[in-house]
Amino acid sequence: MFMPEVGQQTATRELTLAQAINEALAEEMRRDPNVFIIGEDVAEAGTPFKVLKGLVEEFGPERVIDSPISEAGITGLGVGAAMTGTRPVVDIMFGDFLTLAMDQMVNQAAKIHYMSGGKLKAPMVIRTTLGATRRSAAQHSQSLHAWFAHVPGLKVALPATPYDAKGLLKTAIRDDNPVVFFEDKLMYQKKGPVPTEEYTLPFGVADIKRQGSDVTLVGTSSMVYIALEAAELLAEEGLSAEVIDPRTLYPLDKETLIESAKKTGHALVIDEGYERFGATAELASIIAEGAFYHLDAPVKRMGAMDVPIPFSPALEDLTVATAASVAAAARALCGRA
């Protein structure tokens, strides 16, 4: 499989993240007749975010299946279908609704391979969303990816760019395990270069989004852009920040995180999930354990504020890290406060 790095001599065009997702699904559905999509308003509506626009026209309602509003049911159907020779992509409109499908994901999909001594498997993708600051309030704004990274048997991908989204989704569909695939709702219209040629991206390989030498900023999903903006601010002050995107929480590329922290001596982890017991805790502890003797300061964590996401913009914007707050934290970490 052709696996280009953006920036190499390869033809690209600008796609939005939504278009990249759409293209990944269409390519995989053309390649493998066993791939199908099931979810609420996935067919003619193409989801509320219009990510699946045009797919039902090409593949028909048998492969782009509009379901009742039954998250547990469609996830359960997905598990059974995956165990018997198909490759479902289950669409859970908002990540907050994963709570309804929890038993099917955690007790069924995640465990069937192990419980059956390796005889059965559930090759399925659960596509869903994360991210706040859309004024959608407490039940449509959470970032719950850490829950699934906690469960052995599941894989978790959270791409930040159109290029990563397409390559990782194609890999997710081909993976023989249940993969929970998180997309930030606010990033759907973000554009980026995507190769015209087909490619996939491996799981468990972090991407260095920006090279730097003074401080490591580890950002996930939506927070990759915040980290990159913060790096710009810091550069103006003569601080060189390296921005690392793990791209998948499980499998996790620990080595790239640790090596960067060893190099810079300062690490800050930024994620949009709740801070307590969240992804930042795991990533920070991996860095602390692996780079302890090279660190000049404790690893700093910045997750979402530990409150239900409030509706009022005046309050909601306080709950998530911003470029300014990340830059301030990085400055403090480097003794430049």
């Binding site: 009742p68 039954s70 159907l77 059974g80 279908a81 165990m83 198909t86 069924q108 391979h113 048997g153």
Partner: protein, 337 residues
Amino acid sequence: MADSDLSRSVADPAELAEVGLEQCLHMYEQMSRIRAFEEQVNQLYLSAKMPGLAHLYIGQEAVAVGVCEALTKEDYITSTHRGHGHCIAKGASTDRMFAELLGRAPGYCRGKGGSMHIADQETGNLGANAIVGGSAGIATGAALSCKKQGNGRAAVCFFGEGALGQGLLYEVMNMASLWKLPVVYVCENNQYNEYTRFEETTAGTLSARPQAFGIHIERVDGQDVRQVYLAARRLVERARRGEGPAFLLCDTYRFLGHHVGDIDRTYYRSKDEERTWRAERDPLNLLKNILLGQGQVDQGMLDQIEREIQDETSAAVQFALDAPFPDEREVTQHVYA
């Protein structure tokens, strides 16, 4: 009494005559095999040779055997925490089942599943499930696969009446009916949700539930294996023809406790009730009396079958007791496919 409005399907003499002697003897043998297996499991528990607990199927044998008699090896089943009977009826061999219950390497799941998670891909068994109602999605998803692949297979979802308290079942029955999926929901009403009589937990009738989704329903005497078989055959063939899902309500009785350790049951049901069922409604005795009454077999033939089953069961349990435990390296294998 719930469901008094739905009368039982009773096959007429012409239909019953279709169930030939050979088939009756096969069903008798399978029921005896389950009975002998479960009695041995109880002994293994009482003699402290089995880790953990098990939920015995004694008294309900006619349901699993009658239904599986109507299936091919390629058809799928999903099972429950009380699943040994379904597993044997679908064709599993008891030596590897005992090995699984004892956590030994040659067990169906290499000892990693145990009593409540036996799965056997070879015989279309997609697994027992320790979450009540948890496999409803899997069975329905398997039926979706069957329909998509046009392979003529059907799926059977076994569950107890207690599973009617779980929402997942209603979500998937709705979809199965909408999309005419080849799945038969076999509800074994053994009258007790663990330690509570089902009327105490069930508003309305059991049969009104599938009827609300327009699902075809039949009710049978779950102690009469010939009636169960004939009803299951009708419903499975109907499903294969593309006429949609069905619900088979089987009136039955759990002769023993919720699990092997549930010895004192007088706080939820009387000893008289148990004695009456055992004396008058034992599925093995019912079939035996029919066969003897028809003069088709003599007592000696049935004794011979039972002796052979006893020998087979003793050898199977010895196989398991002699089998090695899994190698420690197994603990991290099969987490991911």
